[in-house]
């Protein structure tokens, strides 16, 4: 029996002495506010205070706390109270998974240093990783807490008010994620996974393993009752929930073991025989290798293309042409919450509660795999500790569902960090090449682009990436002639799927770095060059879509004074450089239906009940959609009660992807709220200009005279609403033709970022001094949340540029796979530009993905400006920058074509054609 003080109260717990304290706290004492991100001391999410000092609970033996005092996020101290308020006020918690660890680490600091400086905060909190915020808001929150200033922005929550998130109180108290709720007695599910990228396997005699105490059930591919093939895009369904031989990537699930709770779960000696097969490691090998999937010769999943005008002729007659390549790596989403969830039966309905970005898709895929009618599957999204695209695909949902369906018992499953990293999707590695030309005045004449994307073992979002890249690769610039094609090629690598930007960040790295070289050739300032080519209203995109509400010119113009200052400051300073890059991004599905439905009602008690099915993975849709709804309804936000998401309670608001929620679900919310308002006004016989107010159950409509409706006297419907409206919005798009021409998106967002760096040429290291980010959001529904998106996206862009490279078998943890820490993200100045889009709610455009796109190319452009080094492969690790710098002393070799430069990149292997 271990006795200690937990949050001020004496507790006694029976636990193995060397059990991880995190396990003891969560499993035996119910303190699930202590989050587990890695079990290795790499992320700090499980930080607790042991006698006031921060330690990782995952590295602390339970017995060691005997007689001592432990504080978790469930506790309350003077410092924690202040920090909670400050984190909430500063938007320092987005998804909330790192928040408990951040709060406790900061509490340790505040007890040692009452009023810490920014630098002291950075250094003290450096042991906790955050993947959402970019850290700046956390630094601000802790500094403010030290100064005693924890007040939040004022505002009633109208559109445009920077109010703290509505679900923020839960975030700073230790929210309940996938691993944090499970039914009593739930079986514990573990997966057996392939240790090889490609291997045949045979499962041995299971009799002995099955008879082992504590083993409740074992399942293999043969046990899948429905269709053992899924994909986020159904026509491409190719990925098994549990693979039959052969396994096609390292980490693929080949069997499930359900253990009774409370027993040691040891799947390591599961009887399985592996016969490693030769893997196709790269697209180059795969294009000539045996097809992974029938009907996909050359392992070509899909090719996306855009052909407008005659790029070859345009380039041949251009005054200046540059040619170059860019190679990118697998990038891991590295959300701090590994996948987790639980399942149980309610009558004949299978209920799955898990982290997700797409409950509706989870439901469809899980039902198909398990052979169930859709109505018998209910998905309840837990709080989701970051997603960034990877939690769009199902992961453990069908596994949980299978166990519960077959055993009739509740179950739960939590991925280890390694499982999360090996088995879920990645950003596509890209090998890109091509040419861009301009005339003597620096106006773009044409572009040729060719990209090969490693889509891994299964389809996932490969088709989307292959289609999005050619559409976007021109950047937000008028490009009269363009030929662009992108191919997604299967390999025995991890499944490449969606990651913030769907391939567009990779394409922008290629395009924006070439733009800098082209601007230099034309002898034009790099920002001016971009301004000269920036798309304007009424001009056509690469798909021939005539654009409106184009904000790129405004974004670049907003950077101008900063650009002038930064160039002047960098001039003559060794190693200093300034870079700029733009982005644009179409919001929602590419030329496909993409509806959202929102229901809003009034309860007899006078609550505005918003059935909000858009999953909030930290980006803020719970708040933004509610602000839009309240504004359209004409009632204060404070009366809004959120319901869902839950496939049994909320209509489908689609997936949280493609920067679509604020725009698409926002439009649905606006329409639903307007319909409800119209119904209220009709009842009161009031005009459009009437004002509404709620006082308890009394709804008052003032339009000259006042009409009162006592809501408690009206009959409620099945959902408990006395007045209700529901609306669906689907963006008006048109399909792309054979040449990729059409109107694939109804709304685009735009942005441009400027990065100031200092490069240490002797070591090839880069220090970021400041990032200035101008983003056209159409209308900032909530400026604080918008800034949070910008800062978080920039942090991921920094990672992509400078450190992130997922190598299967080698960087499957958070100490070999590096994501930015405190200190890697410089001060960020966000400039919110508002060019209202006629299609967006109150003019709003999407933002979530845009923000990541310009960062990496702007960093590379700043490095080139500082040193002349042209980086053609990311991440630009120190040794790669050094290599590029050393190349500068080599003689330049002409590669032939008129006006073509950069022999190093032209000679780089890895790109075909």
């Amino acid at each position: 029996m271990i006795r200690f003080r937990l949050n001020g109260a004496e507790v006694a717990v029976e636990a193995p002495p060397t059990e991880r304290l995190s396990e003891t706290l969560r499993e035996r004492l119910g303190k699930v506010g202590t989050k587990v991100g890695c079990d290795a001391g790499d992320c700090g999410a499980c930080t607790v205070l042991l006698d006031g000092a921060a330690v990782c609970a995952c590295l602390t033996p339970a017995a060691r706390v005997a007689g001592r005092s432990v504080t978790t996020v469930e506790g309350e101290t003077r410092e924690l109270t202040r920090l909670r308020a400050s984190f909430h006020a500063h938007g320092a918690a987005q998804c909330g998974i790192c928040t408990p660890g951040m709060l406790l680490t900061a509490a340790d600091l505040l007890t040692r240093v009452a009023r810490p400086s920014q630098a002291e905060v950075e250094s003290a909190l450096g042991g906790v990783l955050c993947r959402c915020t970019g850290y700046r808001s956390i630094i601000a929150a802790v500094v403010a807490a030290g100064q005693g200033d924890v007040s939040a922005a004022q505002g009633v929550g109208a559109v445009g008010d920077p109010i703290p998130r509505l679900d923020g109180a839960a975030k700073v108290a230790g929210d309940r994620f996938g691993a944090d709720d499970w039914p009593e007695g739930a079986l514990i599910v573990r997966a057996v996974r392939s240790p090889h990228p490609h291997a045949a396997f045979q499962i041995g005699d299971l009799t002995a393993f099955r008879a082992r105490p504590g083993v409740a059930a074992i399942f293999t591919a043969a046990d899948i009752p429905g269709r053992n093939a899924f994909s986020v895009i159904p026509p491409f369904a190719d990925q098994p929930a549990i693979a039959a031989s052969p396994a096609r990537f390292r980490g693929e699930c080949v069997a499930l073991i359900a253990f009774e709770p409370g027993v040691e779960q040891e799947p390591d000696d599961f009887p399985i025989t592996w016969t490693p097969l030769v893997p196709l490691a790269t697209p180059e090998e795969a294009e000539t290798g045996e097809a992974l999937h029938a009907g996909r010769p050359g392992n070509l999943l899909i090719e996306g293309r855009i052909i407008k005008g005659d790029a070859a002729t345009a380039l041949a007659t251009s005054d200046h042409v540059v040619e170059g390549t860019m190679t990118t790596a697998f990038v891991e989403h590295a959300y701090i919450e590994p996948e987790a969830g639980s399942a149980w039966m309610e009558g004949d309905t299978l209920v799955i509660r898990a982290c997700t970005q797409a409950p509706g898709m989870d439901r469809e895929d899980t039902a198909a795999i398990l052979g169930l009618p859709l109505e018998q599957v209910r998905i309840i999204p837990s709080a989701t500790g970051g997603g960034f695209g990877s939690k769009l695909d199902i992961s453990l949902q069908p596994l949980l569902g299978l166990v519960t369906l077959k055993t009739g018992r509740a179950c739960r499953m939590t991925y280890s960090r390694q499982e999360s990293m090996t088995s879920t999707t990645k950003r596509h590695p890209a090998e890109m090449r091509g040419r861009i030309g301009c005339d003597a005045e620096g106006r773009i004449t044409g572009m040729e682009f060719e990209g090969r994307f490693n889509t891994g073992a299964y389809s996932s979002w490969g088709p989307t990436v292959a289609n999005r890249v050619p559409v976007h690769v021109s950047g937000p610039y008028l490009t009269p002639h363009i030929t662009a094609r992108a191919r997604a090629i299967h390999t025995h690598g991890p499944v490449s799927g969606a990651f913030r930007g769907f391939g567009v960040p990779q394409g922008a790295l290629w395009q924006e770095t070439l733009y800098d070289r082209l601007a230099d050739k034309a002898g034009i300032d790099r920002l001016e060059f971009r301004l000269r080519n920036a798309l304007r209203d009424g001009e056509p995109s690469a798909t021939g879509q005539v654009l409106r509400a184009v904000g790129i010119h405004d974004c670049l113009s907003a950077l101008k004074p900063h650009w002038t200052r930064a160039l002047a400051e960098a001039a003559g300073q060794p190693g200093r450089g300034v870079g700029v890059a733009s982005c644009w991004y179409g919001c929602g599905n590419t030329a496909l239906p993409n509806p959202s439905t929102i229901r809003i009602g009034l309860s007899p008690a006078g609550e505005i009940v918003l059935h909000q099915g858009a999953t909030d993975i930290g980006q803020g849709s719970n708040t933004v959609i509610a602000q839009i709804a309240a504004e359209a309804l004409g009632l204060p936000l404070v009366a809004v009660r959120l319901v869902g998401p839950d496939t049994a309670l909320t209509p489908d608001a689609g997936k949280t992807s493609a920067s679509r929620q604020t725009y698409v679900t926002g439009r649905a919310a606006k329409a639903a709220a307007e319909a409800l308002r119209a119904e209220i006004l009709r009842r009161a016989n009031a005009g459009d200009g009437a004002t509404l107010s709620l006082d308890g159950a009394t709804l008052t409509i003032r339009d000259g005279s006042a009409t009162r409706i006592d809501l408690s006297t009206l009959p409620p419907d099945a959902h408990g609403h006395v007045l209700v409206a529901e609306a669906t919005y689907d963006p008006p798009t048109s399909p792309l033709d054979a040449k990729g021409q059409g109107a694939p998106y109804a709304v685009y967002g735009y942005g441009a970022q400027m990065v100031e760096v200092v490069v240490d040429p002797a070591l090839g290291t880069v220090r970021l001094l400041k990032i200035t980010a101008a983003h056209d959001v159409g209308r900032a529904i909530n400026p604080m949340l918008a800034r949070g998106q910008i800062e978080g996206g920039i942090a991921q862009g920094i990672g992509m540029a400078l450190m992130e490279e997922y190598l299967p078998g080698r960087t499957e943890n958070l100490h070999d796979y590096l994501i930015p820490t405190f200190g890697d993200v410089p001060p960020i100045e966000s400039l919110l530009i508002e060019v209202p889009d006629p299609e967006g709610p109150y003019g709003a455009k999407g933002l979530g993905e845009h923000v990541l796109i310009p960062t990496a190319p702007a960093i590379l452009n700043a490095i080139r400006h500082a040193t002349g080094a042209e980086i053609t492969r990311v991440p630009a690790l120190p040794h790669r920058i050094r290599e590029a710098l050393q190349g500068l002393s080599l003689p330049q070799i002409s590669s032939g074509g008129a006006g073509v430069e950069n022999p190093r990149s032209a000679a780089r292997p890895g790109c075909d054609a």
Partner: protein, 274 residues
């Protein structure tokens, strides 16, 4: 016995005597490889006060169980500055609060942050078992990646820095691809003694560029006797890279590590010279 938490070293050594148990220090290296609990048998050293703390008595004695936070916070001679700088860069605050100097050495990672500063301090380790105490030069204790001269029945009781090495001023420079929580690509500790404008003693060690961190005798020889203003200029690349045998890994190439090590040696020496 699956787990024991002795309160005296004698008791711990008795429990270790069979050789089948493993000693648990801060846990920051043992737990990452473990399941829900750490497999036993485990002798938890945390309760043994005599293994903790820093004392000076004819040299500096740092108990094996002394945490990095305690080392960083201690008032130590300038010669130990590199060690204190390293102490602030071992993982994050959480790991520094739990992790111990003895554990860092016993774990024997080629990239252990504690090793170059201690090599530059001519450190010895005190290894005790039920059958006695022995002292080894740190360089003789570390045999290779994850390999040490520690016998299964022994505990690393203390790190000993001789009085002769507590002279001068030292500096630690760590290179990685991010700010915090980073396994070094390369790192250098340099300690220099200056007398009347000349370097009269130098100790320079490089980590993460060979299976075990190493001292650089040729660099030290070149520095010794040099006027302070000229000292850094006497560091030759080949004197740095000669003893190194870096590898290509996910963090950097071997070629880069050689170049970076030479640069870091110059910077560490320059900083130590003040």
């Amino acid at each position: 016995m699956d787990y024991a938490r002795p309160e005296t070293l004698t008791e711990a050594l008795r429990l270790m005597a069979g050789g089948g148990a493993r000693a648990l220090g801060g846990g920051t290296d043992l737990y990452p490889g473990a399941a829900a609990r750490l497999g036993g048998p485990v002798v938890d050293l945390a309760g043994i006060g005599e293994l903790r703390g820093i004392t000076r008595n004819g040299g500096q004695r740092i108990g094996g169980l002394t945490s990095w936070t305690a080392i960083a916070a201690a008032v130590l001679p300038d010669a130990c500055r590199a060690l204190q700088q390293a102490a602030r860069q071992v993982g994050g605050r959480q790991v520094q609060n739990a992790g111990t100097i003895g554990g860092n050495l016993c774990n024997a990672s080629p990239a252990a942050d504690g090793v170059p500063p201690l090599l530059a301090l001519d450190a010895q380790v005190e290894l005790v078992s039920a059958s006695g105490t022995r002292r080894l030069e740190l360089a003789d204790f570390l045999l290779g990646p994850r390999r040490t001269a520690l016998r299964p029945d022994e505990v690393l009781a203390a790190v000993l820095i001789p009085e002769t090495a507590l002279r001068g001023r030292s500096s630690f420079v760590k290179l990685g691809a991010r700010s915090h929580l980073v396994i070094s690509i390369a790192m250098v500790a340099a300690r220099v003694e200056i007398d009347r404008g000349r370097v009269v003693g130098a100790a320079v060690a490089v980590g993460a560029c060979s299976p075990v961190a190493v001292r650089l005798p040729a660099v030290e020889a070149a520095l010794t006797g040099a006027p302070v203003a000229q000292a850094v200029g006497r560091i030759r690349d080949t004197d740095v890279t000669g003893p190194l045998s870096p590898i290509d890994d996910v963090r950097a190439t071997a070629k880069y590590r050689r170049e970076a090590a030479a640069e870091l040696v110059r910077r560490a020496v320059a900083e130590a010279l003040g």
